[in-house]
C-alpha cells in the first residue's frame, strides 16, 4: 500500500473513534452527571436555570441532546468550569495548555535521552552487574507511585538540600515570585519566552522549577523505553547480519551503532507513543504534587468542586492529543518499516 493511502485510511478510521470519544464524554456529562451543573452554581436564580435548560436543550430527548452536544463541541462551547468562576472550558484549556505542554515535552526529551543510551548499555553488557542494576531500575518503574516519588524528591532536593545549605531546587510552581525586572510571558512557554526576551536569569529559574517535576513525570516512561530498547537490541544482536558484520571484522562500535541500533529503534518508536499516554496521565498527578499550573492540576482539582465540565474537557483534549500522537507514531513506523503498510 502506498504511504499516502495508508495515512488516508488511518485518518478515516479516526472518525468513528472520535465520535465514540464524544459519545463517552456525552454519557459522562449528560447521563451520569447533570449537564446543567456545568453552567450554573449555587447562586444562579431558578429563572436563569430554566433559561439555560431551554437554551441548551437539556429538556429534550437524549439523542437530540447528543446532536446539540456535538454541535456545541465543534463550535467551541465545552461548558463552563465552575472551579474557575464559570470560565468557558475552552478558554481554560487555552490558558493551561502551555504549562502542561512544556512539562510533558521536557519529560519526553528526558525519557529519550536517558532510556535509549541506558537500554543500549544494558543490552551490550548483558548479565553483567550493571545490566542487572538497570533491569531492577526498569522494573521499579511499573510499580512506582509517582505522587509518592515526587514527595520523596521534594524531601531530598528541596528540604534536605536547603537544611544542609546546599543549592536546592524549588518546591513547586513554574517560576519564582519576585523576579526583577518582572517577567511577563508572551507565548506561555517560559523557557522559550525567556530566550526570546533575552532573560538568562528567568531561563535558569524556569529550568530549575521544571527539572524535578519533569524527572518525576518521565520516570515510568524512562523505565518502559529502557526495557523495550534493551530487549529489542538483544533481539537484533542475534540476527545473521550482525554476525556477518562482526565476521567482516568491523569494530564493535560500528556494529552496534551503525548496524544494530537502526533496527532496534523500530519497536522503540511505538513504545514512545504509549509512554506519551503515561505522560498525559502522570501530568495530573505530577502537576498536583509540584503545584504546576497546568491542565492536569486543573482537572484533578475539579473533583473537589464537582467540576465535571472541566474534567470532561480534559478527557476530550487528552484523548485528541493521545490519538494524534499515536497516529504520528504509526506513520513514522510505516515510514521506517514498509512491512507495516501491508498489514
Amino acid at each position: 500500500m502506498h504511504l499516502r493511502f495508508y495515512i488516508a485510511r488511518r485518518l478515516v478510521l479516526l472518525i468513528p473513534v472520535l465520535l465514540g470519544v464524544s459519545l463517552v464524554t456525552f454519557s459522562i456529562t449528560h447521563v451520569f452527571g447533570n449537564p446543567v451543573a456545568a453552567y450554573v452554581d449555587e447562586r444562579t436564580p431558578e429563572a436563569q436555570i430554566q433559561q439555560i435548560i431551554k437554551e441548551h436543550g437539556f429538556d429534550k430527548p437524549l439523542y437530540v441532546q447528543y446532536v446539540i452536544y456535538i454541535n456545541d463541541l465543534l463550535h467551541g462551547d465545552w461548558g463552563r468550569s465552575r472551579s474557575l468562576n464559570n470560565r468557558p472550558v475552552v478558554d481554560a484549556i487555552k490558558d493551561f495548555w502551555p504549562a502542561t505542554f512544556e512539562l510533558t515535552t521536557f519529560a519526553l526529551v528526558i525519557t529519550m535521552l536517558i532510556s535509549i543510551p541506558l537500554g543500549i548499555f544494558s543490552a551490550t553488557h548483558q548479565d553483567k552487574p550493571l545490566d542487572h542494576l538497570t533491569r531492577i531500575f526498569s522494573l521499579s518503574g511499573v510499580a512506582m507511585p509517582i505522587f509518592w516519588l515526587g514527595l520523596l524528591m521534594l524531601v531530598v532536593f528541596y528540604y534536605q538540600f536547603k537544611i544542609l545549605g546546599l543549592p536546592n531546587l524549588p518546591s513547586g510552581g513554574r517560576i519564582s515570585e519576585f523576579l526583577y525586572p518582572p517577567f511577563v510571558p508572551t507565548t506561555g512557554f517560559f523557557l522559550l519566552d525567556s530566550i526570546l526576551q533575552g532573560r538568562p536569569d528567568v531561563f535558569i529559574d524556569a529550568l530549575a522549577h521544571l527539572i524535578m517535576p519533569a524527572l518525576c513525570l518521565a520516570y515510568p516512561g524512562v523505565t518502559m523505553v529502557t526495557r523495550m530498547m534493551r530487549s529489542s537490541m538483544l533481539e537484533v544482536m542475534r540476527q545473521d547480519y550482525i554476525i556477518l558484520a562482526r565476521a567482516k571484522g568491523l569494530s564493535e562500535r560500528i556494529v552496534i551503532y551503525k548496524h544494530a541500533l537502526k533496527n532496534a529503534m523500530i519497536p522503540t518508536v511505538t513504545v514512545v507513543g504509549i509512554s506519551f499516554g503515561s505522560l498525559l496521565t502522570g501530568a495530573s498527578i505530577v502537576e498536583t504534587v509540584f503545584s504546576w499550573p497546568g491542565l492536569g492540576r486543573w482537572a484533578a482539582s475539579s473533583i473537589i468542586t464537582s467540576d465535571v465540565a472541566a474534567i470532561a474537557g480534559y478527557a476530550i483534549i487528552s484523548a485528541l492529543v493521545y490519538v494524534t500522537v499515536n497516529l504520528i507514531v504509526d506513520i513514522i513506523y510505516a515510514l521506517i518499516d514498509p512491512r507495516i503498510r501491508l498489514g
Binding site: G33, W148, L151, I285, S302, A312, Y322
Partner: protein, 294 residues
C-alpha cells in the same frame, strides 16, 4: 449420511504433565517466587488484619500525634495519633480487595465479550473492537477520573469507574487468543465429532485461553492497585480518615518535610505490592511463552 453422534469424545490423558512442567519452570525463576511470595504475604496481611494490626484502622489518640517510629508504633503515628502500621495493614483490605473485585469484573466482561467477538467474528467482532478502540483512545486513568467525577466521589464509585473503563485491554487480549485457538487442530477435531459451538467454546477454547488471561489479570491487578491509589491521592476516592494507601499519602503530604514517615510507609506498601504482581505476571508469561519451551 450417517450421523457422527455415536462417536464419543474420548478423554486422552496427556503424556506430558502441563502442571508439573509449569511448576518446574516456576521453581527455576527466583523473581517469580519473590513476586508470588509478596502477593501471598499481602493477601495474608489483608485477611488477618484484625490479628496483625495492633490498633483499629481509624483509631485516634490525640495525646500521641506525629510520633516518629518507635517500639509502640513501628511506623510512627499520624496527625490524629493513628498508628501508621495498623492503618497500612488495614488499608491492604481496601486497596487489594477492591482491586481484586475490579479485575474479576473486567475479566468476566472480557470472557463474555471476548468469546463472542472471537467466535462469531465478522460484524460483531468488528463492532466490539471499535468500541474497545474508543475506550483505549483515552490515556490510562483519565476516563476513570471523569467517570468518578460524574458519579460522585467515594471508594466504591472509584472502583466502579475503574471497572467500567478497565475491561477493553483484557477483552482485546482474550479475543486475540481465541482467534488463534479456534484455528487449532483440536477445535477442528471437536467439530468433526459433532460438538456444538457453545460446547467447543466453553469446553475447548476457553480452557486453553486460561493462561494468557491469568497473565493479563495479574498485570491488571498491579495496574489497578497503582491506579486506584493514584486517583485516591488526587481526591477521587476515600475521604475523612479512611485507611487507604493513596489517601494516606495525600494526608501525609502536608507533613512531608518534618514528619516524612506519614507518607513513606503507605508508599512502600503500594510499591512492593505492585512489584509483586508485576514479577508474578512476568513469571507467568515466561512460563507460558512457547518460544522458551522445550
Amino acid at each position: 449420511m450417517s450421523e457422527p453422534s455415536h462417536v464419543e469424545e474420548q478423554r486422552i490423558e496427556p503424556q506430558f504433565s502441563e502442571l508439573r512442567y509449569s511448576l518446574s519452570r516456576f521453581r527455576q525463576n527466583p523473581l517469580v517466587i519473590f513476586g508470588t511470595a509478596i502477593i501471598i504475604c499481602v493477601i495474608i496481611v489483608g485477611v488477618f488484619a484484625p490479628y496483625i494490626a495492633p490498633y483499629g484502622p481509624e483509631q485516634r489518640n490525640w495525646e500521641n500525634t506525629l510520633q516518629p517510629p518507635s517500639m509502640q508504633h513501628i511506623f510512627g503515628t499520624d496527625e490524629t495519633g493513628g498508628d501508621i502500621f495498623s492503618r497500612v495493614v488495614w488499608a491492604s483490605r481496601i486497596d487489594v480487595g477492591l482491586a481484586i473485585l475490579v479485575v474479576i469484573a473486567d475479566v468476566a466482561i472480557a470472557i463474555v465479550l471476548g468469546s463472542v467477538a472471537g467466535y462469531l467474528g465478522g460484524k460483531t467482532d468488528e463492532g466490539l473492537m471499535r468500541i474497545t478502540d474508543v475506550f483505549l483512545a483515552f490515556p490510562y486513568l483519565i476516563l476513570p477520573m471523569a467517570v468518578a467525577a460524574a458519579i460522585g466521589r467515594n471508594l466504591n464509585n472509584l472502583a466502579l469507574a475503574l471497572a467500567i473503563t478497565g475491561w477493553p485491554t483484557h477483552t482485546r487480549l482474550l479475543r486475540g487468543v481465541i482467534l488463534t485457538e479456534r484455528e487449532r487442530q483440536y477445535v477442528e477435531a471437536a467439530r468433526a465429532v459433532g460438538a456444538n459451538k457453545i460446547r467447543i467454546m466453553f469446553r475447548h477454547i476457553l480452557p486453553n485461553s486460561f493462561y494468557p488471561l491469568l497473565v493479563s489479570a495479574t498485570f491488571g491487578l498491579g495496574d489497578t492497585i497503582l491506579g486506584f491509589a493514584s486517583l485516591s491521592f488526587l481526591g477521587f476516592g476515600a475521604g475523612s480518615g479512611v485507611a487507604e494507601w493513596g489517601y494516606m499519602i495525600s494526608l501525609g503530604r502536608d507533613y512531608i518535610y518534618r514528619f516524612p514517615w506519614l507518607a513513606t510507609f503507605p508508599g512502600l506498601a503500594i510499591f512492593f505490592t505492585v512489584i509483586g504482581f508485576n514479577l508474578a505476571g512476568d513469571g507467568f508469561r515466561d512460563i507460558l511463552d512457547p518460544r522458551l519451551r522445550r
